[in-house]
Amino acid sequence: MKIVVLVKQVPDSTEITVDKNTGTLVRDGVPSIINPDDLAGLEAALQLKDANPDIKISVVSMGPPQAKGMLQETIARGADDAYLITDRRLGGADTCATSRTLAAALKKIGFDLIIAGRQAIDGDTAQVGPQTAERLGLPQITYVDEIIDVTPEKITVKKSLEEEEQILTSTMPCVLTTLSGMNNPRYMNCNDIVDSFDKPVHIMTFDDLDLDLSVVGLAGSPTKVHATFTKDVSAETKTYDMPAQEAAELIAHTLKEKQLITK
């Protein structure tokens, strides 16, 4: 079975500051990380591979050339190979053009199961996974919190919503979008880091995709951003009644989940 995991390199939102004069994000010197929901998707795939070593994991990302280092890291965590779709002609893509590009690449790469993170912490659209599924004509299950069982024919997962959980089964192949809280991603290890440099990060460009130039990149992106601004904060409050120890753990967990603290 071949699992393809879609990942995005994003700025570490815990390290970002806002320029007081312009109101924009200061990205200079901000370290890049693998988007947390995507990393959980990779870990979910690796756990399936732990149980069944015949599973092959390919990681796919669309982004600038420097995203190659992140893909190398996914191999050092246990993926078999990786693909970086990178081309100036694909730049400036919104979710519509991105999903079209990814779908075209996925057709070339091949897959039995596609796992994408729910959403990226730099855009928070949660659109790329579902759109990619639509473009490939595949069933999709979003907000996956646990993969319960997978066979070549069907997959059963737990989907977490705010108020409820659903156990859903889909035919294969299908697209899952995963939540960062579903697991604790493993560390790389020294042996796999050494080996990762012998495993390929394949580079794909526009020329590999069988797409028209008008439907990719900026030209293929109907989204136009007119202005960005900071919303007035009217914090939603919840009241908990619990012992101090539990309350402290809940606060720490929540802040960590929101990427406001890392430790």
């Binding site: 190398q72 050092a76 560390y187 290890n189 020294c190 042996n191 880091i193 050494v194």
Partner: protein, 379 residues
Amino acid sequence: MDFNLTEQQKMMQKLFREVAQNEVKENAADVDESERFPKENVEVMRQAKMLGIPYSREYGGAGADYLSYILAVEELSKTCATTGVVLSAHTSLGTWPIAQFGTDAQKQKYLPDLCTGKKLAAFGLTEPNAGTDAAGQQTTAVLKGDHYVLNGTKIFITNAGEADVYIIFAMTDKSKGTHGISAFIVEKGMPGFTFGLHEKKLGIRGSATSELIFNNVEIPVENLLGKEGQGFKIAMQTLDGGRIGIAAQALGIAQGAIDEVVPYVKARKQFGRPISKFQNTQFQLADMQCKTDAARMLVYRAAMAKENGEPYTVLAAEAKLFAAEVAMEVTTKAIQLMGGYGYTRDLPVERMFRDAKITEIYEGTSEVQRMVISGAVLR
């Protein structure tokens, strides 16, 4: 000349940083306070395959370079110098002599378990009456048929009790002085091998430091490491490498102290502004970082010389001497910048200050390093 880490070394550094910051840091204060060996950190290192970094894959190591291992000691020591020395003593002092001087059979028998972290290793040279003057060994090994009979006592042995494999030095021929010392691979559990006093120390309080007692311990002849009489050479060469590890530990302690001070001076307000706005704070920090970076260059240079098969005895001595003294200076200044808060055990810099002191003492005191360096200068 290239001062940049390779892509592989950078990825290793990232892993070590994640392990140190996410796993090791949170229990460092408890390890110190309760003087307990950090078993959970050893387990994390085992999972991340950090216990055999510079050794070949054939023997269960990662097959990475020596600088990558040094980066691991540095990153761990930024948060917990105890964990840093557990790795350094295991890798440089306990495992390296077997990898370097062991027979094929000895390597096959011991390295896989050591490199995968299934077992820890240690090194026993120092005795109550033989410290810097290592030639004054009173432990003896007498050949009787197919085994040596080992008698004597070693003190201040890092990883004692926690390690399963010990490189032990003993006199096999007193008449030959240093040429009469031999090295042996001794296993925990051999009849007559026991552990004595557990030292209570100023710093690195979680590191297991104990006495090793050998009372008629029968060591099979196949556990002689190298040839009879090569022990002193093996010990000195092993310590040359070990010093790079301790230099990396000192470097990590210094950088770790700076990393603690920076957010503090930005947050701490006096006279209506953060103390980071005062020139004294700025200049102190400039000196601290500058000296730490200079130490880093010396440490990495020694590691690369070792990796490249170049002479590194003097480079290792320079790295250890300088990094250890920088660690003392930087941690002293770190406490001063943090004032009364820095002096309390609620913040980690006082621990770093206590931990730094040992780097001027073990694996050759700063005075010994000066002897090595001046010997080369005056040659």
